[in-house]
């Protein structure tokens, strides 16, 4: 259904985004949300809200029962998404719905291997491409195990965004077909929402990334404040803030659903955006 509604496909919205930002001397700012959290409709509104507030790239989590690499914040978001009927297929529907009015903002899925395996890599890739997905990050599928998925992605013009840790060996980061978009640099170990790395560590990690890739480097995991985001923006091509943004929104007192929640989000995104844009280019 979603596939047929989607009017067109951009081969490389992610590349286009980095080109555009680089030309403007700016760094990318990405955030993460779980599809269908708290509902399909609100999720859709939120994605558009992100773009309006200044987000360049959206990581869209497809709900999964067992997000083993995530901390409490994102575990809860997954549960809410599942409770609202969210799953991989509905997430593709969500992207298709988003694409009806936004053909430019890159969307990469983020999640776990099992829903992909159960849907089948080829079926997934075909449906995802038709829905307007640009790439995917799979938390528990290192490149060693990604052969079948990479082939399917490549066939449908999508990429897998590789996760990078400093301790990885050459063989685990070597470029291969189907890999692209950017390098997701994780400067800490441990699940999401955990402690932050120092800016020195992040610097080392980014430098390390640059040596093994020509892709743009974005840094995620543990970035919690606009100040930290600015510091990272000064050395990387982009910044990803997930748990911290959700926590900031949720920490504000009073009920927050729909428009109200979105306006809180916008305010915090705006603060990060300002900080990132003010950072000196590396």
């Amino acid at each position: 259904m979603a596939a047929s509604i989607c009017p067109y496909r951009s081969i490389s919205r992610v590349d286009a985004m980095f080109d555009r930002l680089r030309a403007a001397g700016r760094r990318a700012f990405a955030t993460y949300a779980v599809a269908s959290d708290p509902s399909f409709e609100e999720s859709l509104a939120e994605l558009h809200g992100f773009v309006a507030a200044g987000i360049d790239l959206i990581e869209l989590g497809y709900p999964f029962s067992d997000p083993i690499l995530d901390g409490a914040t994102i575990q809860k978001a997954n549960r809410r998404g599942m409770a609202a009927g969210g799953n991989l297929a509905r997430t593709l529907d969500l992207v298709a719905a988003f694409r009806e009015t936004d053909g430019a903002t890159p969307i990469v899925l983020m999640g776990y291997a099992n829903p992909l395996a159960v849907m089948g890599y080829e079926a997934f890739a075909a449906r995802a491409a038709a829905s307007g997905v640009d790439g995917i990050i799979v938390a528990d599928m290192p490149l060693r195990e990604a052969g079948a998925l990479l082939a399917a992605l490549a066939m449908h013009g999508m990429v897998m965004i590789p996760l990078f840790a400093m301790t990885l060996e050459e063989k685990d980061v070597a470029p291969r077909p189907g890999v692209g978009g950017f390098l997701y640099c994780i400067p800490v170990v441990g699940p999401t929402g955990g402690p932050s790395a120092t800016i020195e560590t992040i610097g080392t990690a980014v430098a390390c990334c640059r040596r093994s890739t020509t892709l743009p480097v974005m840094v995620g995991f543990g970035i919690k404040t606009p100040e930290a985001a600015a510091a990272v923006a000064a050395i990387a091509d982009g910044v990803i803030v997930a748990s911290a943004l959700i926590d900031l929104v949720d920490a504000e007192a009073g009920p927050a659903a729909g428009v109200q929640r979105l306006s809180r989000y916008s305010r915090h995104i705006w603060a990060f955006r300002q900080a990132i844009d003010l950072a000196p280019a590396s």
Partner: protein, 395 residues
């Protein structure tokens, strides 16, 4: 003896199409180091002697293979032989691999281990072994499991373990495993993850399988000594440590049927744990294997009266043996298992766990179809003390 030999699958870490290393990339170097350390240790005579010595002195191996006399069964049938790992140590057969893995961790310079536990057996074994070797231990246990097994909770704490109760999800082994792996991800430089079963990313299935293979080799020797060639070996599959351990010695004997018993739960429409027979191929906790998951890939809650069987994943090696038809599967319901435990206790004076009760119930049914000259071996991974309140709620 498939697992006692170095593994040589088509792809590294694969059993046929099952297995692999589906983990966060940050863990890959850790797994690679672990694999190298294990393969080196496994061929190191000193390491093996230390392991064997502790298996004997500390764990209490070898365990007997003892006959359940005919009184047990209403009608005649094949002889039933019990492999009595209930006679080891506190933790039943879990001690085999906890010991091996803790020794390995020590050899790798790590001073702390983290693990997960369902009915408490793996946690107790790991806590005790860690204490014995002077290491710290952190154990995750689901809140529901902890409530069902207060004695186990007390015992782990007695051994000095830092026990952490997990409120997440269904509060069973599955949640505990996720929590333990999360913990390990953040501390793999000081802390080893102790796999309770031959599940998870390679090299864990390989390592646990190798350390548990002692069950199978003992059983084989005992059968040879008794001049017996069994018609079948029957074992209940939770994480699969005892099943892979005992099957390993018989996989290459086509004349011996290997029967994996899965928990059928309380009844139609209730949660069960039969992922080998009716799970989907999926990816859970680091490996491609048979998984209880729905059509969207969400993991389904696993259910059983036996905490140790309620796990939605399965050992990749076993998945391969089932897929290839070498291992048959049977489903046993809660009540059948409970009955078997009760009958063995009052009829034989042997108190086995509910997990083992599943295997016994299946073996009894099978024995009825065989002649008295045949024998069926039943794996008893642990004693039933932990299940007293569940099996005999009335007394």
């Amino acid at each position: 003896m498939a697992l006692a030999q170095p593994l040589a699958p088509d792809r590294p870490g694969r059993y046929g199409r099952f297995g692999g290393q589906f983990v966060a990339p940050v863990l890959l170097p850790v797994l690679d180091r672990l694999e190298a350390a294990f393969e080196e240790a496994w061929i190191d005579r000193g390491f093996r002697m230390r392991l064997d010595g502790l298996l004997h002195d500390f764990v209490g191996r070898p365990t007997p293979l003892s006959e359940a006399v005919a009184r047990l069964l209403p009608t005649a049938g094949a002889r039933i032989l019990l492999k009595r790992d209930d006679l080891t140590f506190n933790g039943g057969n879990y001690a085999n691999s906890a010991l091996g893995q803790c020794l390995l961790a020590g050899r790798m310079g790590l001073s702390c281990v983290v693990t997960d536990t369902g009915s408490g057996q793996n946690g107790i074994a790991t806590a005790a072994v860690a204490a014995h070797l002077g290491m710290a231990s952190i154990i995750y246990m689901g809140a529901r499991d902890a409530a069902r097994h207060p004695g186990a909770v007390k015992k782990m704490r007695a051994f000095g373990a830092d026990l952490r109760i997990v409120q997440d999800a269904d509060g069973t082994l599955h949640a505990a495993t996720s929590a333990a792996v999360r913990h390990w991800m953040g501390s793999s430089d000081t802390t080893a993850y102790v796999a309770g079963a031959p599940i998870g990313a390679h090299p864990f299935p390989r390592i646990v399988g190798a350390f548990q293979a002692v069950i199978g080799s003992e059983t084989r020797l005992q059968l040879i000594a008794a001049g017996l060639m069994p018609g079948a070996v029957v074992s209940a599959v939770g994480g699969g440590s005892s099943t892979v351990g005992i099957f390993s010695a018989f996989v290459t004997d086509p004349g011996i049927r290997l029967i994996a018993v899965e928990a059928g739960g309380s009844g139609e429409g209730q949660p069960h744990s039969a992922r080998l027979a009716s799970g989907r191929t999926g990816i859970l906790h680091g490996a491609e294997t048979f998984v209880l998951s729905d059509e969207n890939g969400h993991i389904l809650p696993a259910g059983s009266i036996a905490s140790g069987l309620a796990y939605p994943g399965s050992p990749p090696e076993l998945a391969d043996l089932v897929a290839g038809g070498r291992v048959e599967t049977v489903r046993i319901m809660d009540e059948q298992a409970r009955d078997a435990v009760r009958r063995l206790a009052s009829g034989e004076g042997i108190l086995i766990s509910l997990e083992a009760g599943h295997a016994l119930a299946a073996a009894e049914a099978l024995a009825q179809t065989l002649s008295p000259s045949q024998a069926v071996v039943v794996m008893v991974p642990a004693a039933g003390d932990k299940d007293l309140d569940i099996v005999w709620p009335e007394s």
